[in-house]
């Protein structure tokens, strides 16, 4: 059986799609008259073409539009933080902040100031040799830091409060106002 080249098959499909014009179209039509194999292939592809063309649109459910309109205000559908989880997290954050503030106010961190002197830090064995070179050639004392425990706890309390406000806004207030607006519509 004579085999049809891929180029010719492509032309057959273009012919069926109606995108073949002029001399090229006429030339192909002439070939149909002379070549029964080509004509048979055209009919096969035409049948397929008609089948596919008759492959009608699928219809969604009757209440499709209604469903979409109902869901419009629910976007984004899956919030990363639900109101309940947000409330729990917010409570945790504030409890930690309040406990820390109470501990600070009772003076628990009053005597936690200490000085961290980098020169007194013991160097691990593998680094002993470089340390000798540093002392021998650079001869510069390393800085020392004052560590204030009370200040650190205060910073943590402040960060907790900022985090708490963000949580309050994102997880509770925004969804709450959104709900109210929806109810007002």
């Amino acid at each position: 059986m004579e085999k049809i080249s891929p180029e010719l098959e492509e032309k057959l499909l273009d012919y069926l799609d109606g995108s073949l014009r002029g001399a090229e179209k006429e030339s192909l039509e002439q070939q149909f008259q002379q070549n029964p194999v080509l004509k048979a292939r055209l009919e096969t592809l035409r049948t397929l073409h008609q089948l596919l063309a008759g492959n009608n649109l699928e219809q969604p459910s009757k209440n499709f539009t209604q469903q979409v309109m109902l869901k419009l205000d629910q976007y984004p559908r899956t919030s990363s933080l639900s109101i309940r989880n947000g409330l729990l997290l917010l409570t945790g954050v504030f409890v930690v902040a309040i406990l820390a503030a109470l501990m600070v106010s009772t003076g628990m961190f009053d005597n936690t100031t200490s000085v961290i002197d980098l020169n007194k830090i013991e160097v691990p064995k593998p680094l002993e040799a470089p340390q000798q070179y540093v002392q021998e050639y650079i001869q510069q004392p390393l800085p020392s830091f004052e560590f204030d425990g009370k200040l650190m706890v205060n910073i943590i309390i402040c960060l907790n409060l900022v985090l708490g406000w963000i949580l309050l806004d994102r997880a509770i207030l925004k969804p709450l106002f959104k709900k109210r607006m929806q109810m007002g519509h």
Binding site: L13, T44, T47, L48, N55, L57, E58, P60, V68, M69
Partner: protein, 185 residues
């Protein structure tokens, strides 16, 4: 910017007339659902994906630059949403034989009007996802090759080659399925 009649409705929606969006949903729901269905091959999932796409489109309307038709932009969202549903779906782990069996069982519904249509569905199910989607979009008629390219995020030439190749493969699949008995394939 195109002369798309949908753009007038978009202006109304953007001005706050949410109900105007219902007319856009009504107008494009069948195409949107069909695209999602061709990719997911499951009516329930397709409906959900299409609804999701309409909701996403609504919330990103302000960002639509109107360089293309609204429908093209919307169908691209539908396409991407359906692809993402497909990735999440367990169906992707099924081998092709199982998919065909499930498909033909579903095909026994009232929607199946003829054996030809059933065979066509079975043969379509044997194509790869990209070929099947391109072919389905092409035969939805209203879409040009350029629009299909925009929806699927590929070049128009690639789409054309894909559609040609898919039809030839489909013809072979049908030939196998029908054992040379029907349709003269």
């Amino acid at each position: 910017m195109t002369n798309d009649p949908d753009h007038y409705i978009l202006d109304r929606v953007l001005a706050g007339d949410q109900q105007a969006y219902a007319s856009l949903v009504d107008k494009h729901k069948s195409y949107a659902f069909t695209i999602a269905y061709k990719i997911l091959q499951n009516r329930g999932e397709a409906e959900e994906a299409a609804q999701d796409a309409f909701i996403k489109a609504y919330h990103h309307l302000a960002g639509f630059n109107r360089q293309s038709k609204f429908s093209t932009w919307l169908f691209r969202i539908v396409f991407n949403t359906a692809i993402s549903y497909k990735r999440k779906s367990r169906q992707q782990f099924q081998d092709i034989e199982k998919t065909v069996v499930a498909y033909s069982q579903e095909g026994e519904s009232i929607l199946e009007k003829s054996d030809q249509k059933r065979f066509l569905r079975q043969a379509l199910a044997k194509l790869n996802e990209a070929d099947r989607t391109a072919l389905s979009l092409f035969y939805l008629e209203e879409l040009s090759l350029e629009e299909i390219a925009e929806i699927t995020g590929t070049q128009a030439n690639t789409v054309k080659v894909r559609i040609h190749r898919a039809r030839l493969r489909l013809a072979e699949e049908l030939k196998t399925l029908l054992n040379h008995e029907a349709l003269m394939l």
